[in-house]
Amino acid sequence: MIEVRHLTKSYGPKKAVNDISFTAEDGQVLGFLGPNGAGKSTTMNMLTGYISSTEGQAFINGVDILEDPIKAKSFIGYLPEQPPLYFDMTVDEYLSFVYSLKKCRLPKKSHLAEICDIVKLNDVRGRLIKNLSKGYKQRVGFAQALVGNPKVLILDEPTVGLDPKQIIEIRTLIKRLGKNHTVILSSHILPEVQAVCDRIVVINKGRIVANDNADSLARNLSADHKLVMHIEGSTDEIKKILDSITDVERVFVGRQIDERVYEYHVEAKEGADVRRDIFRKLAARNYPIIMMRSNELSLEEVFLKLTTGDEYGGAEKIETKFDRLEKGENNK
């Protein structure tokens, strides 16, 4: 179990991490999500005792990392952002070095063999680390964290630089490990966190902006009484029909999708479900609905909303800027 209380790290006047608190229970995978430079790695470095906190406390299995660092560190397996590898060693030499460094007491040969099996390193155990591909290096870093079977795993962007197949493998592995370890995993990739984590802590500019499980995070911030539709037919007629439906408050006609197909944004009263009514009325007048979806925010949009306070997270602004450039209005 990991408990973080009011952790703060200041570099001079700048607060890289500002008063964050959260708890990761046993058997839980906690995702630490945030844009680059949000303070994810700083937090992880504080949890592992690599750097100290300016204020606040971090407990690993009930042991304060600053009070009894050696004991607290013995519970942790840490994979930093850049795997700490010695390029002049073979995989086997490296892992047995880590084994003795961590003063591990498990039967050495079978323990290391088991780890190599889990992270699929068996083919490269005799090779020099410097000659391995990036994916394999990352796996060696992962293996290193698993040596000694630590109760807590702290993984800083574990899938960076891997190919899609490897990413899926590593994610499956993390999920499996999460069943009997406490895992904290940082990432700026949302689907990853969504796929792997039980709980998500969103951090931005050193502060926690959300701390919830993945589903309710998306639900709380989304608005499912808003619909987006593509409908074929005359826009005036369709808008009239939509407006006439009870509970519909506003209708916007959006961009053209295809010949005679336009996008419509329908906003109904909160809590009202107008989808069936819309279908019946449009079907009666023979206006086919090509697509209909509730305007539920994806986790991406939730994330942008949380970290930038804006649903489109500045993406829209860039888009408009490009539009202007294209139209030759860049000097404005």
């Binding site: 570099y11 470095n45 592992t48 005792g49 690599y50 750097i51 100290s52 050696i70 004991k71 560190k73 013995s74 942790i76 840490y78 930093p80 850049q82 700490p84 590898l85 010695y86 390029f87 002049d88 060693m89 030499e93 070095f97 880590v98 003795s100 460094l101 961590k102 003063k103 290193q144």
Partner: protein
């Protein structure tokens, strides 16, 4: 500690550094042995040791430059500093590994004494005094080098910094003669590594001298631990 020491030792002999250091040791000591003893038919090999004092002043940093600088650069210090291992043990392991390689180069000096003893009577007190003195001065150079290596990410900076520090340590007695204030001059003289070293080379084994050298080593190792600790708190 043994884990760190073993790893460092194997790193020395996986790269050319370990071999180069020992080869340079043998080369220079062999040359000095021939020049000061064999060529002139003398059994006094103090000059051989004195020559090696200056060689080690410059070459021990080659041995120590990568000890921590490389860890800092490759970010492998994250592995060492997040492992359940005290900083003192980490530093001691690093120190011992470099010191063992140093001694592998240094131990050949005793062989020269043995070689001479076949041809003439040698003064073993002087040879052993010199040997112990060089071994102690080597420990200072290694610990000073380890300390400087901890301060930087660049091996080059570590090497140059250590050479400068070693030179300052070795030549501090020169400063004593030019400082006009007697009290300050006396203090500097007391700190002089070279004066202590010279005492041994005359065959006098002084406990005070041993304590002086060992204290200097302990101070540098302590400073190294402090630097590692300070980085955590920065």
């Amino acid at each position: 500690m043994t884990a760190i020491m073993k790893r460092e030792l194997s790193a020395y002999f996986k790269s050319p550094i370990g071999y180069v250091f020992i080869a340079v040791s043998f080369l220079f000591s062999g040359f000095f042995f021939w020049y000061f003893a064999l060529a002139v038919g003398s059994t006094d090999i103090s000059f051989v040791f004195l020559g090696m004092f200056y060689v080690y002043m410059i070459f021990v940093p080659v041995l120590t430059m990568r000890l921590m600088a490389d860890e800092n650069k490759q970010r492998t210090d994250q592995l060492l500093l997040t492992a359940p291992l005290g900083l003192m043990r980490l530093v001691a392991g690093k120190f011992l590994s470099a010191y063992i390689v140093f001694m592998l180069g240094d131990v050949v000096m005793l062989l020269y004494g043995v070689v001479l003893s076949f041809f003439a009577a040698v003064n073993w007190a002087i040879i052993l005094g010199n040997f112990v003195a060089l071994a102690l001065i080597g420990a200072i150079f290694v610990s000073a080098g380890l300390f400087v290596s901890t301060l930087t990410e660049s091996q080059m900076v570590a090497a140059i910094g250590s050479i400068a520090l070693n030179a300052a340590l070795a030549l501090i007695n020169v400063l004593a003669s030019v400082v006009p204030i007697q009290a300050v001059s006396d203090v500097i003289k007391q700190l002089s590594v070279f004066d202590r070293y010279y005492e041994f080379t005359t065959g006098i084994f002084s406990l005070g001298g041993v304590i002086f050298f060992v204290s200097a080593v302990v101070i540098f190792l302590f400073l190294t631990v402090r630097v590692l600790e300070r980085r955590r708190w920065a």
